[in-house]
Amino acid sequence: MMGRAARGFLLFLLLLAAPVSAAVSPRVNPEFAAPGPGMPAGVTVASAALIENASVWDNRSISFAGEAVGEAMIRGDHAWLHVNDDAYQARNLDDGRPRAGYNSGQAIWAPAELARRVRLFGDYRNEGDAVRVSGEFHAACREHGGDMDIHATGLEIVREGHSVAQKLNIGRLWIGLALLAIAGALWLMRFRGARTGTR
């Protein structure tokens, strides 16, 4: 038997199932780009502007550029890509780029043949390919459970990625070994102290 509270909750959820129109006019953050009159389709937009002014960019054709990171998650004839347009899109921290905050980017839903054009994805060892994606932005995608994404219709590689050369930090290695040697000596002293009963 379903309790009264559970029935009420279900009724509430059913009410929500009806298409909900935006009752409140979208708020625009003037510090970030927003589409204006006469703005051409396919204009390049930064991820920060898409997140800050999501509702006004919703369903618009845009262009988005940045570094492909992680991997292409192939799902049938399409794939998910993540493209970061942050400060690390040309050089990452381990490649010598100074620290410049968090990563930021957008999720791209692209036909698998477009996604396969990306050869190198950004991670610890690699700076990923830089790509330019054209497609339609969704603030809350109906097809993908409300995820914010860009459905790509085109993708081009604008710069090939590269592996990051790691220079071994020998000085730090010696510090580590020295600390381990000191710790070993301390452990021996502690161990001998325990055996002689001084604990």
Partner: protein, 501 residues
């Protein structure tokens, strides 16, 4: 008259703190191994330095404090409080050396966030971070969730002394699953490892199904499990769980969070065949009720703004975020700033409420806790019944938590006091946020997230956060995790040192 602490008191605290620091050093071995296996030589060196630093400081403390007696109740509380600070300071070393942090303070912030299973982070360029560093972040959460003193107790101690229990309680865990505290600590680890095998396998299979490469599916499976089970909320990619774009992956991850947020005593009861506890336990009932309220609030806020195109999308986003907040995990499938720019104030209030309440006591979760909310609700009910009953009537109230218990004034007082401490912590964090220029909704959201060890962010926390606010959040995470007793004991100890005779 307040007694000034003697040398012997410092020896007790120093010796046990040293032991915990040694434990932190051993905990750096798995990320060191991951770094070596992955050929990440510089991160491996960073962990070598970290291990060396921990073992040197830990062994030196143990050696300097030899001859210490068993800890008393106060010692246990102070040791827990000091150990967590020491673990933060030394646990921050590999992260700081990695170059991904703006300062040592930032590395300490993340270490404390990991240990307290909060999940707020200041690490920069996470998407290019090494597997070794990611393993360390998640392992910190994992160990912190079990309790680092519990870790030290389980693996580095015979634990036969009476003092072992005081250390255990000092970490805000009270339930004894088995007669010995060390057996209890080991039982907690046994339950955790069993779930780890199951959860990691499920995430690995889901990861492969959604297109992750096998080695990445395995690593992400382990990391996301650790982040979820510990209700820590760290994730290996900057987009957090939005990265995976998979309802299946989200469902597995949030199930792990919910199970991880249950009381270890409840796990043990079910593990040992007492399944009726699942229906009767006051914490689960309380969790279900407050979760439903938070879901309604958030769903109403989002439906009013028309953020999501249909009920399926609305439910998927709302349930994940609210369950993540209520279990104090902090996994997210929306961008941090989207809470402000898309979700709006009503949904943020609902989510803040869920985070503030938190999940179960004696679990990896933070917040006021379902047990206390359940006790306070029962007390409210008792008062209402008393008002409508004849004057001479004795109105008794009971609640069920592992066993049936009477609701006494002492139980209500204890629950109310801790709840008040939490509310005060949230308030102080909010005032600090507003002081540094944040709007009140964002300041409240972030302060509650830090104080309840949740880790959801509305974009306020970041590397550019003023140092003062970083320190406030570190303190919030610390006091929230230890549930105040250890911190009060530490301040009492310091006061006795200054004013005692």
């Amino acid at each position: 008259m307040i007694l000034r602490p003697q040398t012997g008191d410092f020896l007790v605290i120093g010796r046990h703190t040293g032991r915990v620091i040694v434990g932190v050093g051993f905990l750096m071995l798995p990320p060191l191994l991951v770094a070596l296996l992955g050929g990440e030589w510089n991160p491996a060196i960073d962990f070598l330095v970290g291990v060396g630093a921990c073992l040197t400081v830990g062994f030196a403390l143990e050696l300097a404090c030899r001859g210490a007696r068993e800890p008393s109740w106060t010692h246990g509380m102070v040791i827990a409080a000091v150990s967590w600070l020491a673990a933060m300071a030394l646990g921050a070393v590999p992260g700081w050396l990695s170059g991904h942090y703006g300062s040592y303070l930032d590395a300490c912030f993340d270490a404390m966030s990991g240990l307290t299973t909060t999940g707020l982070f200041l690490l920069q360029d996470l998407d290019h971070a090494s597997a070794g560093l990611n393993t360390w972040r998640h392992l910190l959460s994992w160990a912190g969730g079990q309790g680092i003193v519990v870790v030290a107790l389980a693996f580095l101690s015979s634990g036969r002394g009476a003092g072992a229990y005081t250390l255990y309680v000092g970490e805000a865990k009270e339930e004894r699953l088995l007669p010995s505290v060390v057996s209890t600590a080991r039982a907690i680890w046994f339950v955790s490892f069993a779930w780890m095998a199951l959860g990691t396998f499920a995430l690995l299979a889901a990861g492969l199904a959604i297109g992750l490469a096998p080695h990445r599916a395995l690593l992400h499976g382990v990391w996301v499990f650790m982040g979820g089970w510990s209700t820590g909320g760290f994730a290996p990619m900057a987009a957090n769980l939005l990265y995976y774009h998979s309802a299946l992956y989200e469902m597995i991850a949030i199930s792990i969070c919910i199970v991880g947020s249950f009381n270890f005593a409840l796990h043990w009861a079910v593990w040992t065949g007492n399944r009726a506890e699942l229906r009767r336990n006051v914490e689960l009932v309380s969790f279900a009720v407050t979760m439903a309220i938070a879901l309604l609030l958030v769903a109403a806020g989002l439906a009013r703004l028309g953020v999501y195109p249909d009920a399926t999308a609305l439910f998927r986003k709302v349930f994940f975020q609210v369950a993540s907040g209520h279990t104090t995990t902090g996994f997210g499938t929306v961008y941090a700033r989207a809470f402000v720019t898309q979700w709006g104030p009503l949904a943020m209030i609902g989510l803040t409420l869920a985070m503030a309440i938190g999940a179960s006591s004696c679990s990896t979760a933070g917040g006021i806790k379902g047990l206390r909310v359940g006790v306070l609700a029962a007390a409210l009910l008792q008062e209402a019944r008393r008002l409508i009953s004849p004057e001479r009537a004795v109105v008794a109230q009971r609640f069920h938590h592992i066993g049936t218990r009477h609701l006494t004034d002492a139980v209500v007082r204890s629950a109310a006091l801790v709840a008040l401490w939490y509310l005060a912590t949230y308030a102080i964090g909010t005032v600090a946020g507003v002081w540094y220029g944040a709007d009140i909704a964002s300041a409240l959201f972030e302060a509650v997230s830090a104080g309840s060890n949740t880790g959801l962010s509305c974009g306020l926390t970041g590397p550019a956060l003023p140092a003062g606010l970083k320190i406030v959040y570190i303190l919030e995470m610390w006091v929230g995790r230890l549930e105040f007793m250890g911190i009060i004991a530490l301040f009492g100890f310091a006061a006795a040192l200054a004013r005692g005779k």
